[in-house]
């Protein structure tokens, strides 16, 4: 009988929290799109992959550090997000959810296939001077340096987003429109403009996640699907439309994943997550923190 040492467990928890912060970032974007404009976007996560490839390119061609490349990817993806909204997403606003699912599934398939077409399925990665650098945390527990930076960036971004939504006028407008679209329209708020920006922000979150992940992990076209699955697990657990829920949910999912790898196996861990997803959907569809926007 093997004893799993406390160190290994703690290391797993730390690892889980680090990953969880990225999941949280992704899930916030996903849940925001639903919370603000009521759209279930299965193609979410694909732009993260695009961002990854862009970051890859910038590093390979110009030696730009993945975290630094956010300076380019963030505004770029904001614009891409707004364009996507204007061209495709806005037509999905009033359609039933299962239609949205199929339509965005189609978009997901197209984008993933496009990536496959251009880059093939071979995983690619970058090696920066600090990719494998480990920082000691406490005792024998170490932190992978780029993952740590990614987490710090995620936390910073989440905090800024919070401040933006709660303190700035435009942020509050987004919140108001999310809560009551008709009321907002009556007040003269241009809902389309609000949605456009919100969608842009969600895509920015994807860009940040994408650039961050590139710093410590390999990239392939299928990552998008894995990510949106994780986002689903998070939002189902925490309730669609809840941003605080997405944060907590992201961390929980990260930890369950990490701890499963230690105690059972990675693939069973995925199975466990899916089991939780299924059970929550069957017994409590509004999730733990549910806002029941349905």
């Amino acid at each position: 009988m093997s004893m799993i040492s406390q160190t290994v467990i703690l290391q797993a928890i730390v690892y889980g929290l680090l990953n969880g912060s990225i999941y949280a970032l992704i899930s916030i974007g996903f849940t925001m799109i639903f919370g603000v404009m009521g759209i279930i976007n299965f193609a979410y996560g694909q732009l993260t992959v695009v961002a990854m490839y862009v970051t890859l390119f910038l590093y390979n061609a110009y030696k730009i550090d993945p975290f630094v490349s956010m300076v380019f990817t963030v505004p770029l993806f904001f614009l891409i997000g707004m364009m996507l909204y204007k061209s495709v997403i806005q037509w999905m606003l009033k359609t039933p959810h299962h239609i949205q699912m199929m339509a965005t599934l189609g978009m997901m398939i197209s984008l993933e296939s496009l990536m496959l077409f251009i880059f093939t399925g071979t995983p690619r990665g970058i090696i920066t001077p600090y990719t494998t650098k480990m920082l000691p945390l406490w005792g024998e527990i170490k932190l992978n340096f780029p993952r740590l930076i990614a987490t710090i960036v995620s936390v910073a971004v989440i905090l800024s987003l919070f401040l933006f939504l709660k303190k700035t006028t435009f942020g509050k407008t987004i919140g108001a429109t999310a809560d009551n679209e008709e009321g907002a329209m009556l007040m003269g708020i241009e809902t389309h403009a609000v949605f456009r920006v919100a969608f842009g922000i969600a895509c920015v979150l994807e860009a940040i996640a994408g650039s961050s992940i590139t710093a410590f992990s390999v990239v392939d076209p299928y990552t998008g699907f894995t990510l949106v699955t994780k986002a689903w697990m998070v939002v189902v657990l925490s309730g669609l439309g809840s941003i605080p829920g997405a944060i907590v949910g992201g961390l929980i999912v990260g930890m369950i994943e990490a701890l499963s790898s230690v105690f059972i196996s990675a693939s069973l861990g995925t199975g466990v997550l899916f089991l939780i997803l299924a059970l929550v959907l069957i017994f409590k569809p509004s999730g733990m923190f549910g806002t029941a926007k349905e």
């Binding site: 299962h98 077409f117 069957i282």
Partner: protein, 341 residues
């Protein structure tokens, strides 16, 4: 005979002669061409027929009962593994083992369906839960040493017709073709039956269906189990044809669900020919793209998928009838002067 969902059209007298003639021609082609086909072409056709069959099975649940289930790999895998184990461990011939496996899949579908349809899960959430169920099964099988875990199981490459093993591809072709023809027959039977009519009522509007005396739960469960059974049979076929099964493929969304789903939606759900046309179009498109000079192998499938993804988006947003619906639309426009309506 081949009704499409909108309305109750039977094809006009003129058209029947044409379609019977076309059918006979295609029967001749189907029976004799394989003897002249290259090994590559034959494999491609067998694979296409396999997906067509899967599309037809999926169509029973989605096209007729309107339930979006994304986890059909569950039944494919359960049946495929069951029949393979029965064969390798107990020398049970896969012809029988396949039915037992499909039965196992159907039996599994009963409690699963009961839970799914008892709960108020609709549309999107049903899709997610069925997908999750498939992933859970995949994880379980990946960690189950007895069935080979993530390494998978190999079947022997030998000529043993009594064990559903052939070294030549021809028998597989005829079996696959036979399966498709059976599904055509079954779909027509269902479409004309009380079950079929009730199923489309459930698909269109559950409240109205209930008010008309239809027990929606019952109908959904029946179609679910039927769909599971026939999908299961395909799992056994796959095992016997590819001679290698592994959870990633048997319980894999991309392998079992994606293409059949696209085929049904693009071709026209709830019709007999829709799933066939939609799925075949994919293969044909692939072959066409393969001829394009600068496209490499894997790029071809990626390109085809990409186009289908776009079509899926357009179809779900604009036009639910798919290719069959489009054809109906044109026919109606051209028969407007017959003054029947």
């Amino acid at each position: 005979m081949f009704h499409s969902t909108p309305g109750n059209h039977s094809w006009g007298g003129q058209n029947i002669k044409v379609s019977v003639g076309a059918m006979m021609l295609s029967v001749l082609v189907l029976v004799f061409l394989p003897f002249f086909a290259s090994s590559y072409l034959l494999t491609m056709v067998i694979t296409s027929l396999h997906f067509v069959y899967l599309a037809q099975s999926w169509n029973l649940l989605f096209g007729y009962a309107g339930q979006l289930a994304l986890g059909h790999g569950l039944f494919y895998g359960i049946a495929g593994y069951f029949s393979t184990e029965l064969f390798l461990a107990a020398r049970v011939t896969p012809y029988v083992g396949g039915f037992i496996g499909a039965l196992a899949a159907a039996l599994f579908a009963i409690p699963l369906g009961a839970i799914l349809f008892r709960s108020k899960l609709k549309g999107l959430y049903l899709a997610l839960v069925t997908f999750a169920a498939m992933e859970i099964m995949k994880a379980l099988f990946n960690n189950w040493k007895y069935v080979g875990g993530s390494v998978g199981i190999y079947l022997p490459f030998e000529n043993a017709p009594e064990h559903f093993l052939f070294m030549s591809r021809l028998p597989y072709y005829f079996i696959a073709l036979f399966m498709v023809l059976c599904m055509i027959f079954l779909t027509v039977m269902i479409q004309r039956s009380k079950l079929g009519h009730r199923a489309i009522a459930v698909r269109e509007n559950e409240d109205a269906a209930q008010a008309s005396g239809i027990h929606c739960f019952d109908i959904k469960l029946k179609m679910f189990v039927l769909s599971a059974f026939f999908t299961g049979l395909a799992g056994t076929f796959y095992a016997q044809f590819m001679l290698y099964i592994v959870p990633e493929i048997m319980f894999g969304f991309s392998n079992v669900v994606l293409l059949p789903m696209l085929g049904v939606i693009v071709g026209g759900r709830g019709t007999v020919l829709g799933p066939i046309i939609g799925t075949l179009a994919f293969s044909i498109l692939s072959e066409v793209l393969r001829r394009v000079p600068f496209l490499q192998g894997p790029q071809v499938s990626a390109a085809t998928m990409m186009l289908y993804g776009i079509v899926l988006t357009i179809v779900s947003l604009r036009y639910y009838g798919g290719l069959m619906g489009l054809m109906e639309h044109w026919r109606k426009r051209h028969s407007a002067d017959r003054g029947s309506l």
